[in-house]
Amino acid sequence: MADEKIPYTQYLQADGSVVGNLPEFAEDQELVLALYRHMNRARRFDTKAVAMQRTGRLPTFPPALGQEAFHVGFASAMSADDILFPTYRDGPAQMVRGVQLEELLLFTAGDERGSDFQVPRCDFPQAIPIATQTAHAVGAAYAMKLRGEKSVAVTTIGDGGSSKGDFYEAMNFAGVWQAPVIFLINNNGWAISTPRDRQSAAPTLAQKGDAVGVPGQQVDGNDVLAVYHVVSEAIAAARSGKGPALIEALTHRLTDHSTADDASRYRDADLLSEQWKEEPMIRLRTYLSNQGWWGKEDEESMLTELDQEIERAVENFEASDAPEAAAMFDYMYAELPADLMAQRAEVIAAHGHEGDGS
């Protein structure tokens, strides 16, 4: 799978068996259970959001189904002071970072308040224009380095996004500056309908680091322990001044690109069922029960709790008023220029002051 020169890390195989020597943290029951819980929250939320979209309660939603190990693994490896520059598919990672489910719902609904995270205050909102976030990460990393802070910027991108010049330019800047940035590729095999092999003739995406003097490696993105491990190490290295790193996580997109997409138009059903066999949750659960850390009851009560948490978030979201009419003006500038006041007044006249969803 991986190029010879490119390191590849995997601990948990698809059947839950362990390969190689597990890193120490894998014995930390609390930590690993937290990873598992985060992954479950992500999947339950995902299912809920898709259902809401199908019933007209949310606009387009991009599920992360099947990629939870990637998201939860890398986000759990970050410290609170690190900064995440995510894409539209990184909701599960944002949850780990402390973004509220309700905020994610607001964002998805097209309510800008969803990006005004109460926690984490410095993380960027999801980037929609692909690959642009990578430059932000490098700039932020530069700022942190300049101030002598020890924080690290982490940014993600898809296999499709890795074809964009922005990604290359950002990595190149990071290489020259030896900036503390981790570039994570979520290689889920597809950019909407475009398969990985039409994105690039490079045998791995990790070797894109070669072009800019940034070390690249691959990891099994269905293995949360492997993801957590390699990202933790890369972050620690960057934190200690060793510069940027590129990590390609091999995942599968187990559903459509988004709720607006129908992958059956371009994806082979057999391929999909093969990929389901490698999905990340079951292998982790197998590991947990092999460790004696997890049973049926634990599972049931966890799922009940998570579903309750999600239901509360949905209720709060659905009970929320739309933003005030004037809000579209009030955050354009620190202070509204006189030039725009008449327009603002017109909108208030037409729609009122209230955030009444009108």
Binding site: A191, D261, A325
Partner: protein
């Protein structure tokens, strides 16, 4: 004759152009197997092969740039930006090369390219999916900016754009991609790229518009007529640049009043250009200040509140009535402005 939607008319024109000229190729993200995220290129890769309907890697600057090389080599590329908001990485190539190659080489090389993009808001899209930045392109000499607002015009204008020997920015108002069906004859007849379309004659006020806003503007004209006995002309500019100002001037000469309607932000929008030309060449016809009914100078709000930003019939009606009543304000009782 077939009843088709605007997006189907786009498909029809593409298929027709590819049939009649083997140099026509399509390229873009997901235009092939998937037939485009809006299905505008549906079935075309099957029909014309993956060498002529090309699924590209994800990189808009390259899409814009390879089209220049293809065109200079005699192909007629039709390049798709998946959404207008993702066309900006291609601006450099379009401004610096596509629009200039003919001039730079005194005609030796040229760029018969169509850059297509769905544009505008109103589909509850995520951030960056509701852009109406046609004014950026309309400021660039050497380009044509063309915006169809009906199935018939989509078919005829797109054929014209593909056959045109120079680069065309072809913006498709996605809000009305499937809004109406029209009989479109697949006869290969193009529509002219140097004329505005007068959709409705009128003596009292001229409504000038393009894109999805044509829908609300036509509706407003109906209401102005039925409810207020105001006879509004409606002009669909369709080809923004080069601009057919004569059609607009002729109408305003008759009506003395002009309301310009577009979805893009007001400041520096293309409505400004039309207003400026009226103030230059039609000043003496004007019986009332020019009105612009446009998007506000803000980022288009997210899906939850975008209706407050989008053009609505009421704003057009109110502006038209202000123009007609000028210098009086329309009286309160006639004025039935409703909240959307």
């Amino acid at each position: 004759m077939t009843e088709v939607t605007l997006v189907q008319a786009v498909s029809m024109a593409l298929a027709r152009a590819m049939e009649e000229d083997e140099n026509v190729v399509l390229l873009g993200e997901d235009v092939g197997v998937n037939g485009g995220v809006f299905r505008a290129t549906k079935g075309l890769q099957k029909k014309f092969g993956s060498e002529r309907v090309i699924d590209t890697p994800l990189a808009e600057a390259a899409i814009a740039g390879v089209a220049v090389g293809m065109a200079a080599q005699g192909l007629r590329p039709v390049a798709e930006f998946q959404f207008m908001g993702f066309s900006y990485p291609g601006l450099d190539q379009i401004i610096c090369h596509a629009s200039r190659l003919r001039n730079r080489t005194r005609g030796r090389l040229s760029c018969p390219i169509v850059y297509r993009a769905p544009y505008g808001g109103g589909i509850h899209g995520p951030e960056h999916h509701s852009e109406s930045t046609e004014a950026l392109y309309a400021h660039i000499p050497g380009l044509r900016v063309v915006i169809p607002s009906s199935p018939v015009r989509a078919y005829g204008l797109l054929l014209a754009a593909i056959r045109d020997p120079d680069p065309v920015i072809f913006l498709e108002p996605k809000r009305i991609y499937r809004a109406v069906k029209q009989d479109v004859e697949d006869d290969g007849e193009a529509l002219p790229l140097d004329l505005c379309f007068t959709l409705r004659d009128g003596d009292d006020v001229t409504l000038v518009t393009w894109g999805a806003a044509v829908k609300e503007t036509l509706a407003a004209a109906e209401t102005l007529d039925s409810r207020y006995d105001i006879d509004a002309a409606v002009i669909d500019v369709a080809t923004l640049t080069p601009l057919d100002m004569d059609t607009i001037l002729a109408s305003v000469e008759k009506t003395g009043r002009c309301v310009i309607v577009h979805e893009a932000p007001s400041t520096g929008g293309f409505g400004a250009e039309i207003a400026a030309r009226l103030a230059e060449r039609g000043l003496l016809s004007l019986l009332s200040p020019i009105e612009r009914v446009t998007g506000y100078d803000v980022v288009p709000p997210g899906a939850r509140t975008e209706h407050r930003y989008l053009i609505n019939e009421d704003r057009i009606i109110a502006a038209a009535r202000r123009a007609v009543f000028f210098p009086e304000a329309p009286t309160e009782q006639d004025h039935t402005m409703e909240d959307a």
